[in-house]
Symmetry: C2
Subunit: 241 residues, 2 copies
């Protein structure tokens, strides 16, 4: 069963969970592909089908897998739509979801700053890729973003312009990085002259400020993103459950 020892005793299903997550994160199974069937996995790992099922169900709940009855179990793909739906929370008041477009972007590779190293757990000499961009909604520039990515995680990202609308699908397809969670902090702020020059807002008007750190399946901090959003007819929607 591929080096599953018993360090102080972990339940079997947790050991199976770790094996499967490791295989996915090491690229043994790739996004969009199907896993072996439950019975094949159970035989391979020398556990019962029920134990495999418990793990696959858990990973499905975490949105890392997708199960299709009659077909198989697949590695979830961070498609554009899916990533937008999952990690982009802006909508019209009342609920209608909004889809942002790129207005413009500037990408460069540069040394990291102290705050960036703190946010992303980087070392003193690590470089970062800085993405500055403005996003538009229905043709109207509404969001200014500064995105910081450790250069070591995404080599060559700075020369891939134009970047796709959702970076997370790029991280997954090109760099094998699965973004599984993000931590956000929201504040209110005031638009300054730079904001007014780039997005559809006047100086002194209120902006919604979003500070996000995105984390990968392997628990690495992959991206620090600061967004400044026009807040006149756009809201940030959350469901607390």
């Amino acid at each position: 069963m591929e080096s599953i020892e018993t360090p102080g005793y972990r339940p079997l299903y947790k050991q199976v969970y770790d094996v499967i997550v490791r295989r996915i994160s090491q690229g043994e199974w790739r996004p969009g592909q199907s896993l072996p069937s439950e019975t094949a996995l159970a035989r391979d790992l020398s556990v019962s089908q029920g134990t495999v099922r418990k793990v696959l169900d858990a990973l499905t709940a975490e949105k890392l897998l997708e199960r299709r009855q009659g077909k198989g179990t697949y590695i979830a793909e961070n498609t554009q739509e899916r990533a937008l739906f999952r990690f982009f929370r802006l909508s019209r008041p009342g609920g209608e979801r909004l889809i942002p477009d790129r207005a413009w972007e500037k990408v460069r590779l540069r040394p990291s700053r102290a705050l960036e190293r703190l946010k992303l757990d980087l070392g003193r000499t690590d470089k970062v890729i800085e993405i500055r961009r403005v996003r538009a909604i229905l043709g109207r520039p509404c969001i200014r973003e500064t995105i910081i990515v450790p250069a070591a995680l995404a080599p060559g990202l700075e020369s891939l312009a134009p970047l796709p609308n959702t970076l997370y699908s790029l991280y997954q397809s090109r760099y094998g990085i699965n973004i599984t969670q993000a931590h956000e902090e929201l504040r209110a702020g005031l638009a300054d002259d730079d904001d007014a020059a780039e997005i559809d807002v006047l100086p002194g008007q209120p902006l919604l400020l979003i500070d996000r750190v995105a984390v990968s399946l392997e628990d690495r901090k992959v991206e620090w993103r600061q967004s400044r959003c026009q807040s006149a007819d756009i809201v940030y929607a959350v469901n607390l459950t």
Copy 2:
């Protein structure tokens, strides 16, 4: 098995799920109490223990139940701490959670307004209870709230002052209403003179505006809450998963 028919065919575990949710929402089992054991429930409902387990695990994931190995399965209580942790997302930048206190409050019973009827699915003649209050953090008034509750759901609420810090524990303990989810929309706004008079902010400073509708286990809209939060050193924290 208590009137479980097969309307077009629902899986057994869904039928069991419905029965258990109904018993909880009808008060047959009350918060803090323990449910019968898995084996007793299985016998009672004429299903296998595994099917009962699947349902209890699901309800535990939804935070409606709590399971304690060796002791039993309990109806989750919306204690102050728990409700704050689950539904109050304001914290210091960086993550330290904040605990609000009541500064003052005014409660009254009055006819509903059109927007309130829309938000809470009320009829033309339904009355509401309006709670206006200011909450303080570390002694500093930071949040202005207006809370609207259908009078029919919480009779006598207007004469219960002073209200507890977390209304949700009161809804549960006094009215048998379990708040299981809430939908929030966040915007940025500017402080006006009324804000400046009541909370620690100057006119024209940015405020975080939160619009929340809380929903019960039975899918009734129980509360519409509008909050205006000082946003200088308070952030709204979200984990996207």
